[in-house]
Amino acid sequence: MSTQHTLEIKGLTVSVETEDGPKEILRGVDLTVKSGETHAIMGPNGSGKSTLAYSVAGHPKYTVTGGTVTLDGEDVLAMSVDERARAGLFLAMQYPVEVPGVTVSNFLRTAKTAVDGEAPKLRTWVKDVKTAMGNLKMDPAFAERSVNEGFSGGEKKRHEILQMELLQPKIAILDETDSGLDVDALKIVSEGVNRAKDASGLGVLLITHYTRILRYIKPDFVHVFVDGKIVEEGGPELADRLEEEGYDRYATVPAVQA
């Protein structure tokens, strides 16, 4: 049994600068994710799901105005973006960023070295990368392409999961990893997440708009996110209900926008 890790979010409030001054997006989020657990956060567009993901990862655009985030008791909010990643947090991004001129292979090795604090052993590393790429049905030629440059939507998402499998974080946040994927790509990506769960007892916070991905990645907990906070929690059956009823029953809360 692998070591237990806990990401604990308490009373998190987050605002973002707008032309009309700061605007509060998260209004008090409480959530605990432990190793081996899969939590699905579901909610309509504009509810603040992605803001939660970016805030935990430390994106400078978002200002934490209250609450705490800890990983195994350590204050995540006091860490820089790279320190958070080295502490064991991973964010699979909805819109992965292109980095021209930096090859995937160089990027992966640099990231692995940074996360582990030492360069990976060359022979096992090359094999690990090759195996992981093969599992995700990625052409080996990707290794020599610039990070995300000219990748299709599906390729970008597979590349995110590739990084997650290789960097072996404690807790991973998947921000709408399913959006824009066809069924085949969705299965491949889901298998990658399940592999990581099995291999290292990864804790997963899965942010999604649709229930489709939950057929392939079974959640232990489902949280409904509306207007910057969790409004209902339950088990997998809650996802089934959302599938049938949609988010309309939560629409009493205003300010939901596309």
């Binding site: 400078p60 655009k61 790279d82 001129g101």
Partner: protein, 419 residues
């Protein structure tokens, strides 16, 4: 070009302009000046008298600190450079007179520094690559300076028809040099010239590198400018016949106190020729200064022309200034394509966030981005050891960087495309 999306606007000290003709309001309003309407009207001559001492207001000198260059732009040179040459089998060198150099059909000087180099170098060094020779090793010429007395140098490279050659000219040490490098390539040849400027901090270098590119020939010129106080490398191309392909590339890295200027002029004077111009620069430190002026002229007879020029600058710290001026003149509508793009900006916040979110510390993330920024130009350098040497030199420059904070994401681009 997708690269433009990753660059953001920076402060007002960075200028960017693009014009389709050379009408500069500043010059136009200066009493006594009649602005040139076309790049074709710029003086080109072997006669020193055609190029009076510049004041700094002339179109071709307006970005250059000419006051610092008085000694180099005066007649009479007493300086000295040490030459080291390494020649592959079959390649010969000889000294020829200025008149003999002209008879080879070299392009005429286009500014005072170049005409002094042609007239006062005491002849030229001719590097001769015979017809159909396919060199497996590069021609290497190293010029070392060890003083501040002005010196003029003229190198002529003649590449015979169907030859294939790489010529590397390296510049190092302290010197004040005006240099003319004249390349004449034969039909169907494939010639690459790499000029590396790794001067000492006090060096001044005014260079004109020309190529007259043969019919169906390929020509590539790469400028790598890292060292020197004032360095100006002007790369010019003209075509001797149709079907030729010219690529002008540059990378430069300016620190505090450096003025690094690159100008290019592709004169599309023949039909069905192609040109690609790509210069990329990084600036760090107060008073770091770079200039890029890219002129392309598509003459009426140059039907079927395909040209694109691009300049990108990455500003790492406050107080640096990058000027970027693409100029495109088109005298015929019967072309394949013509475009230009220019963008100057700081680090892209999103790129840094992405790299840091994978555990990579900020400094290292920035080095990765800078290396990546240069890589598409550097990989065009045909020699692995030279590529490694240049990459290492850029790493050295980066090691001293104290980065400015990245600007928040307001993506915009100074890119435009014509036709």
């Amino acid at each position: 070009m997708p690269v433009a999306d990753t660059l953001v606007d920076t402060d007002a000290s960075v200028t960017d302009a693009s014009r389709t003709t050379h009408v500069d309001p500043q010059t136009a309003s200066a009493a006594g000046f009649v602005p040139q309407q076309s790049r074709a009207e710029r003086a080109a001559s072997f006669d020193i008298g055609a190029f009076p001492l510049p004041s700094g207001r002339e179109e071709e000198w307006r970005f250059t600190p000419v006051k610092k260059l008085a000694a180099l732009l005066a007649e009479g040179a007493t300086g000295h450079l040490d030459w080291t040459t390494s020649l592959p089998e079959g390649v010969t060198t000889s000294t020829i007179s200025a008149g003999e150099a002209r008879d080879l059909g070299i392009l005429p000087p286009q500014d005072r520094a170049a005409v002094l180099a042609a007239a006062s170098a005491g002849g030229a060094v001719l590097v001769d690559v015979p017809a159909e020779a396919e060199l497996t090793e590069p021609v290497r010429i190293r010029l070392d300076g060890s003083g501040s007395d002005p010196v003029h140098a003229h190198v002529v490279v003649r590449a015979g028809r169907f030859s294939k050659a790489v010529v590397v000219v390296e510049h190092a040490g302290s010197a004040r040099v005006s240099e003319l490098l004249s390349v004449v390539t034969g039909d169907g040849s494939d010639v690459t010239v790499v000029s590396v400027q790794r001067w000492a901090d006090d060096a001044q270098h005014l260079a004109q590198h020309d190529a007259l590119v043969g019919r169906d020939a390929r020509f590539t010129h790469v400028s790598v400018t890292l060292g020197g106080a004032v360095v100006r490398v002007n790369a010019n191309v003209r075509y001797a016949g149709p079907g030729a392909d010219a690529t002008l590339l540059g990378v430069y890295f300016a620190d505090a106190g450096q003025h690094l200027e690159h100008r290019s002029f592709v004169d599309h004077n023949a039909p069905h020729c192609k040109s690609r111009v790509t210069y990329k620069g990084v600036l760090q430190g107060e008073t770091a200064r770079t200039v890029w002026v890219g002129d392309v002229l598509i003459r009426a007879e140059a039907e079927g022309t395909d040209t694109y020029e691009l300049n990108r600058n990455l500003v790492l710290t406050d107080g640096a200034r990058a000027d970027s001026v693409p100029n495109l003149e088109i005298e015929t509508g019967e072309i394949e394509g013509a475009g230009h793009a220019s963008a100057t900006g700081r680090f892209d916040d999103l790129q840094l966030f992405y790299l840091q979110a994978r555990g990579i510390p900020e400094d290292e993330a920035k080095r990765l981005v800078v290396r990546g920024f240069f890589v598409d130009v550097i990989r065009e350098i045909p020699l692995a050891d030279l590529r490694d040497e240049i990459t290492a030199a850029i790493e050295e420059e980066l090691a001293t960087t104290d980065y400015a904070a990245p600007i928040q994401q307001t993506p915009s681009q100074h890119a435009s495309k014509e036709n």
